[in-house]
Amino acid sequence: MSIKLAPPVTEPATTPVAIRPASLTSPTAVTPEPADPAEVVFALQDFSCYYGSFRAVREINLEIERNRITAIIGPSGCGKSTLLRSFNRMNDLIPTARVDGRILYHGVDLYADGVDPVEVRRRIGMVFQKPNPFPKSIYDNVAFGPRVAGFRGDLAALVEESLRRAALWDEVKDKLKSPGTSLSGGQQQRLCIARAIAVEPDVILMDEPCSALDPIATLRIEELMKELREKYTIVIVTHNMQQAARASDTTVFLTMGEDRAGYLVESAPTEQLFTRPTNELTEQYITGRFG
């Protein structure tokens, strides 16, 4: 499966994409300049997400900054993954899902009419919990997205570059024709990251990307994230608090209310949240007193 293979959209291909034009070219045009660290990529305004009548996340107000790693933590069932999947409209694929409030992506409402979810998912890629390479060669796994998108440049160079950025090139350059599934779990996950990078996204969402990996492979992914942060904005959901502490710049703590809806308790610079949280619930959660 691939986010790029989302169900065909009913709008004609020429549907104007509501996302501001500047962001379309930002991965190339803006790279040489130092990124403004305070630039907001996502702004959530009273954002809620429902599955049928059940409200999974409730009235979230939050800003995600560019070129940062933002970790979302919280107890099981608090809506972390739901929230993450809202960032690239993956929840659209669930028939009963609907949203309330807004998510602004570079100032544009992601859920506004006329926004093409396929284009949204190209710009905002996702890496999943379980490494899920296509049953294809390593090369084709990375080349797949660009091909579908009608890429007409030097595909081999793009594949190499993506694999290099994912810190996988040296390990696979001599066996690009081998199946992606022949790699180890950690390598497969980096292959999935290379695949996400190949379509030049702006944001990479990661949903528990290390929960199937051993500790060393986990550290590799975490250090890789820090390299990728130079170029992309990363949002990661993790039930591993220590991972959030190690690998993120900002930590967002969600918990579940009496209505079982997830809500935001605290969002703070990671080193602050883990040394002197301001909310008592955060303190209790990170010290293992509940959750």
Partner: protein, 251 residues
């Protein structure tokens, strides 16, 4: 989707960081491109650099305090007193930095011992800075009193303290157990010199009660230097702990 945008025309630009990282990880069969310790190593280095800087500040403070005594220079003594704020700020920064590394990086084994040793060393250095301030205050006292000869052991103690401090900091950088033990062993000399000042001052006070204030102040100076030396040996013990995992009393 719109026609492919300029993204796709991008030239591959080899990421130098990734290249460098792979060079440090030779021999790995998997994940050779990622240095799994990069963040922890960087943060440890930053903490260690700050502790070394703290050691350098204290050494300067001690040298100036000594000179303020020898040259009867109350202004120089004032600079020691003022600059101690810098020592305190830096020590707080080290404590903060270490608590962040502990909270975020979950250091284990040697990394954990190193941070604990650095934390303690920084606290000892801060205290040594206070001794330098005390000596500077005594220099101002002495300068306001009729001059009497300085006990010859005091400049020797002051120089020895500085060289001991330097050796301890070097042992900390190199994690050298043997150098650390040598530092601790040298402390006996400071104790011996202090005893000599103490006995000399007692004799002087008995012989000439008019010199009691100056002699007392010199005893205090020697006492602070002796205490400062004890703090240096504590850092030596930290280094031994860091190197071996064993806590020993070497003083």
């Amino acid at each position: 989707m719109s026609d492919q945008d300029p993204v796709t025309t991008q030239q591959p630009d080899p990421d130098p960081e990734i290249e460098v990282a792979s060079a440090t990880d030779v021999g790995e069969t998997e994940g050779g491109g990622v240095d799994t310790r990069a963040t922890l190593d960087r943060e440890l280095r930053a903490v260690k650099d700050d502790v070394l800087r703290l050691g350098a500040l204290v050494e300067v403070a001690l040298e100036r305090a000594g000179r303020a005594v020898y040259e009867r220079d109350p202004d120089l003594a004032d600079t020691v007193r003022w600059d101690d704020a810098e020592v305190n700020d830096l020590q707080r920064r080290v404590s903060n930095g270490i608590s962040v590394v502990l909270a975020t990086q979950q250091p284990m084994a040697r990394d954990l011992r190193e941070l604990l040793a650095l934390y303690h060393a920084a606290a000892e250095l801060e205290r040594m800075g206070d001794y330098a301030v005390n000596i500077a205050k005594l220099a101002q006292q002495l300068a306001s009193e009729p001059e009497i000869p300085l006990f010859s052991q005091i400049p020797i103690m002051e120089r020895l303290c500085r060289s001991q401090l330097r050796s301890a900091m070097r042992a900390l950088v190199d994690v050298s157990e043997s150098d650390a033990r040598a530092v601790c062993a040298n402390d006996d000399e400071l104790d011996r010199l202090y005893d000599a000042v103490y006995r000399g001052a007692m004799d002087l006070m008995q012989a000439d009660p008019s010199r009691v204030p100056q002699a007392t102040h010199q005893i205090f100076i020697a006492h602070h230097l002796e205490r400062l030396g004890d703090r240096v040996t504590n850092i030596g013990e930290d280094v031994v702990y860091l190197a071996t995992g064993q806590i020993e009393d070497l003083n």
